[in-house]
C-alpha cells in the first residue's frame, strides 16, 4: 500500500453498529475512555471527542415510503484532498501524507482551533487539557507498515475496506448500483475527493451531520489562495494566524450548520 493514494470505503449497508471499529480505534491510538451517561441512546460518547476519533451514529428514521429504519453511520475524518483543515493550519500540524490522507502531528499543534470551524464535516475536537486537537489520521503508523487501519481490521462484516483510490471508487459504485433504490456513493465528488467514501443505502439527507454539498469555506479559499502568499511574504506566523482567525470568526461563520438535525437515538 505504500506511497499510493488510498481510499477507505464505508459500506453502511453492511454495518451492524457493533462498534468494533470505535474500540479498535481507541486501542490502537491509545485513547482513553470518557465517563459517559446513558442519554437515551446507544450512541455513546454522544459526539466525536478529542479522544473519540470515530463514532457510530445511531438514528431512528422513517423513509419516504413510511418504512422504519435504524440507520448507523460511522463518523470520522473524511481525509479531503482539498482539506480546509490543512489549508488553515498555521503550523502544518495537519498535513497531507503520501497516501493522500490528512495526518496530524500533535507536536506542531499550537491549539489555535482554526481547523475546527474550517472543517466541512465538523471533525476536529479540542482537548482542553493538552490544548491540542484530536482527529483520525487513518492510522498512518499502520498504513506505513503496510497494514490496514485498526477500524478496517476490526470490522467483522466487511462494511469497512481500504485500497487504491480508483479501485475503491469503482467498488463503491458497483455496490451502490447493486443496492439500487436510492443508494449512492458519497465523497468522491467534492473537496477534491475524500479519502474516506461512503456507500449510503439511504439519501444523504437521511443522515444528520452529513452535508449534502460539503465545500471548503469561501474565506479559507480567499486566505489560502489569495492572502496567504502575501502573509508569508510579510512573515510572522503569529500575524498570519491572527489574520486568519479574524477572517474565520468574522461576522459570517464559515460553517453555519454543523449541528445534528433530527433525533439521534
Amino acid at each position: 500500500m505504500s506511497n499510493m493514494e488510498l481510499v477507505k470505503m464505508i459500506d453502511l449497508s453492511r454495518c451492524t453498529a457493533c462498534r468494533g471499529c470505535q474500540v479498535a480505534c481507541k486501542q490502537w491510538n491509545e485513547l482513553p475512555a470518557s465517563k459517559t451517561k446513558n442519554w437515551g441512546s446507544y450512541q455513546n460518547p454522544a459526539d466525536l471527542e478529542w479522544n473519540t476519533w470515530t463514532l457510530i451514529r445511531f438514528q431512528e428514521y422513517v423513509d419516504a415510503k413510511g418504512r422504519f429504519k435504524w440507520l448507523f453511520r460511522k463518523d470520522g475524518c473524511m481525509h479531503c484532498t482539498d482539506a480546509a483543515c490543512v489549508k488553515v493550519c498555521p503550523t502544518q500540524a495537519l498535513y497531507h501524507t503520501e497516501f493522500g490522507t490528512v495526518a496530524f502531528d500533535p507536536e506542531r499543534c499550537i491549539g489555535c482551533k482554526d481547523c475546527i470551524p474550517a472543517c466541512p464535516f465538523n471533525i476536529p475536537r479540542f482537548n482542553e487539557q493538552t490544548k491540542k486537537i484530536g482527529k483520525c489520521d487513518l492510522c498512518l503508523s499502520r498504513l506505513r507498515a503496510n497494514k490496514p487501519p485498526a477500524c478496517v481490521l476490526s470490522c467483522p462484516t466487511g462494511a469497512l475496506s481500504i485500497g487504491p483510490k480508483a479501485e475503491m471508487i469503482e467498488k463503491a459504485y458497483k455496490r451502490a448500483k447493486a443496492l439500487g433504490e436510492g443508494a449512492s456513493v458519497y465523497g468522491d465528488k467534492f473537496v477534491g475527493g475524500t479519502h474516506v467514501i461512503y456507500v449510503l443505502p439511504e439519501p444523504v439527507s437521511a443522515y444528520p451531520g452529513l452535508p449534502e454539498n460539503p465545500s471548503v469555506p469561501l474565506p479559507i479559499i480567499l486566505w489560502k489562495d489569495v492572502l496567504k502568499p502575501a502573509s508569508v511574504i510579510a512573515g510572522g506566523g503569529v500575524l498570519a494566524a491572527a489574520f486568519l482567525h479574524y477572517i474565520l470568526h468574522g461576522p459570517k461563520r464559515p460553517v453555519e450548520d454543523t449541528q445534528e438535525g433530527g433525533s439521534e437515538i
Binding site: T16, T36, N38, N44, W70
Partner: protein, 800 residues
Amino acid sequence: MTNHYIDLKNSDCILIMGSNAAEHHPIAFKWILRARDERKATLIHVDPRYTRTTARCDYHVPLRSGTDIALLGGMIKYILDNNLIQEEYVKHYTNATFIVNANFKSEDGLFSGFDAEKKKYDKSTWTFEKDETGIPKRDLTLQHPNCVYQLLKQHYARYTIEKVSAITGVPADLIERVYKDYASTGTKDRAGTICYALGWTHHTVGSQNIRAMSIIQLLLGNIGVCGGGVNALRGEPNVQGSTDHAILYNILPGYLKMPTAPIQTLAEYNEKYTTKTNDPQSANWYQNYPKYSVSFLKALFGEAAQPENDFGYSWLPKIEDGKAYSLMHLFDEMYKGNIKGMFCYGSNPACSAPNSTKVRAALQRLKWMVNVNIFDNETASFWKGPGVDSKQVETEVFLLPAASSLEKAGSQSNSGRWVQWKNKIANPPGDALSDGDIVMRIMDEVRALYAAEGGVCPEPILNLKWDYRDAKGNFDFLKTAKQINGYYLKDNETAKKGDLVPSFALLAADGSTACGNWLMAGSFTQKGENKMAARGLDDPTGLGLYPNWSYAWPLNRRIIYNRASCDLNGKPFNPKMKLLEWTGEKWVGDVPDGPWPPVSDKKAGKYPFIMKPDGVASIFGPGMAEGPFPEHYEPMEGPLNKNLLSGQLTNPMVSVFKTELDKFANADTKFPYVCTSYSCTEHWCSGALTRWQSWLTEMQPEAYIEIGEKLAAELGIKNGEKVRVDSVRGAVKCVAMVTKRFQPFTINGKVIHQVGLPFNYGWLFPKDSGDSANFLTAAVGCPNTFCPEYKAFMVNVSKL
C-alpha cells in the same frame, strides 16, 4: 449447530428468531450478510424488538415474547395445507410415515397419559405400532389416519393464521409472508436455516421452541444439507465446549447420561442407555454406548477401574431419579438452608441467575464460598451489597484470581463444533492461575485429607487417575486433551499401548481403551498430532467446509446427518451444493455419517439419521417432557388469562418453587407490560468482565430499559429520564430509552405494550450504573432443561 458458521453463507433463506445475531455474533453475521449479498438470500428477523440485527434483515416480524410456538405451529400447518414438503425426504428420512399407537391422543393442549396431580405423563401411548419383526409400521402414502404425518396435521389444524396473529400480535399478512418465504426452501434446490439463541431457550417452552423448528426443517428437507440445519448460535467462545465436556448436572462428558440412584450396576446402566432396533437398515449408533461409558470410566479411574469392580461405576455420583439439580434448584436449596458451601467458577449468579432477591438472600445462608474469577464481582462481594448488613453475614468468601482465556492454552469449541486449539499468549498476572491449576491444587489437598483421615466413601476421590501435570507440576493442557481424546491400554494389530485412539469407532467396552470424551476421540492422530491446532485453508468442496482447519466433532464431520442431503441412491438432492455423493463404492465430500452405502442398498445400506434408534429423524418426538408435538402455552407470566388455543394456560409440566419469594403475577393489572431481558453487544452476560473495561462502559455506561414511544407518551416518560421497573418479585431503576423500535402489539383485539432491558449491570462497578435486571425475572424454567424464563415476564414502569 448441526451445521457451522461459515455454512450460513450457503443458505437461501435465513430465519433469525430468538436471536440477536448481529449484536451477539458479530463475526458470524458476516456469513449471514454474505448469503444476502451473494445468494440473494432472504433474511427474516422475528423478534419483539427491532434490533441491530433487524436493521440488516429484509424485514422485521415483531412478535410478543413467548409466542414462538404459535407462529411456528402455524407454519407447520401452512406447509402441510399447501403441500410444500420435500416429499422424498419426509417419507424416507423422518418418522412421518410411522403408525402411532392407536391410544395416543392430543386434546385441548394435553396429550394422552397426563396425571394432573403429579404433573407427570405416562408415556406408554407415545409409541409406534410395530410389525411382527419389531420394526415400526410405516405408511409410505402418508394417508393412514394414525400415521405421524396425519397426526401432525390434526394437531396443528387449530393454528390458523387468524389465531396465530391474535396470540403473537404479528399482523396476518406479515405471518403469511414469513410462511411463504421460509416454506419456499422445501424444494430440493433451496435450503433454509434457522439461527436461534437464548431468545428460544429462555422460556418455559424453550426446548419445544427448538423442536417446533426442527419439525419445520424436516418437513422442508433442510437438515443435513448445506445452508440448512438447526443452528444454535451459542453465546460464548467455549460454551459449546462446556456442554460437550459436561458442565450440566444431567450429563457426563460426551453427553453420556448421568447415573441415577436406582441404577446400581454398570450392566443396568449400559442396558438402559444402549438403544436397540430390529431394523437392519438402522445403524443405531448408540448400540456402542458401553464402549464410551467404559472408556470414560477407564479415563477417570485408570488402573483402579477393572471389570470385576464394574470399572468403578459405583464410585460415580448418582442423582435421584426424576430430581433436578439445575442452577435454579441449587439456589432454591441454598435459600432453604440445605447447601452450606459453593464453588463458583467464572460465574456471577448474584446478577445472572433469575430472581436476584432470592439468590442474594440464599448466598447469605452459605457457610463458605469459593469464587474463582478474573475480577471481583457481585457474587463474591454479596456480603457488602446493597441492603446487606455485613455483620449479619457469616459466610466466609475466598476470591481466587483466575487466568483469563488468553492466559492459558487449551481448546475452544465454537457453536459449529469446531474445536480450535489455542496457545497461551501471556502469563496471568500476580497469583492468578488457570482453572485447571486451581482445581488441581484444591483436589490435591482434598485427596491428602482423604488419604490421611479416610472419611465416608473415600474411593472415588482416592481412585481418581490424577496425572494431569507437566514436569514442573503445572496443569498440562495438552496432556489432558490427549486423555480426553483417549488412548489404547493394550497393544493390538494396528496400535501399541499408549497410542492415541484416532476414532471413537475404535473404542472398546472391555477396558482396553480409555477415553475422557468419546466425541473427542479423533482430535489427535494415533501418533499424537493435534488436529485441533490444524490451520489448513483448503476448501476442496468449495462449500466452506475447510476440513483441515481445526477438528470438528464428531470425526471432523462439518455437517451432521449429511447423508440426508442425498436421495436414496446417494445422489445429492441439490447437485449445485454437492455436500456428499455416493460414487458406487464410497462417499465423497464431507466426512459422511458412517461409511455404509445409501438406503437403496437394502442389504448394506443404512438410513441417514444414525443417532436415532429407528435411523430416521423424529417429527414425532416422545422424548420430550410435555409431548411429542410442540404446543403453544403462555409464559408463566403473560398478559392473558386464557390460552387462545387450548384450556391449558401454561406449560402443564412446569413446576414452581414454593418459597415466599417465588411469586407470579399473570394477567395482573398492576404489572401490565410484557417484558424481556437481553444482553447488548458491548457487554457480556452479567458484565462481570466487560464492566471493568472502560472503552465498553463508555459505550454502554448504565442500565436502561427500551420503551416504545406510545407507551412512554402514555406514562409521561421522556427519553433519557430515570424510571423504576417493577415486577411482583423486585424492582430496578434505570434510564428510559424511548424508541420506535418497540411497537405495541394487538393481542386478541387488545393493545399490549412490551418493553425490554439488558441484564449486563450490577451494583459493584461502575458505581451508579444500576443493578441486575434479574430482580424482575422468575426462577421458573423449561421442564426439559430447566433453562429459566428470562425472556417473558410482566412488569410495570413508572417515572421516578
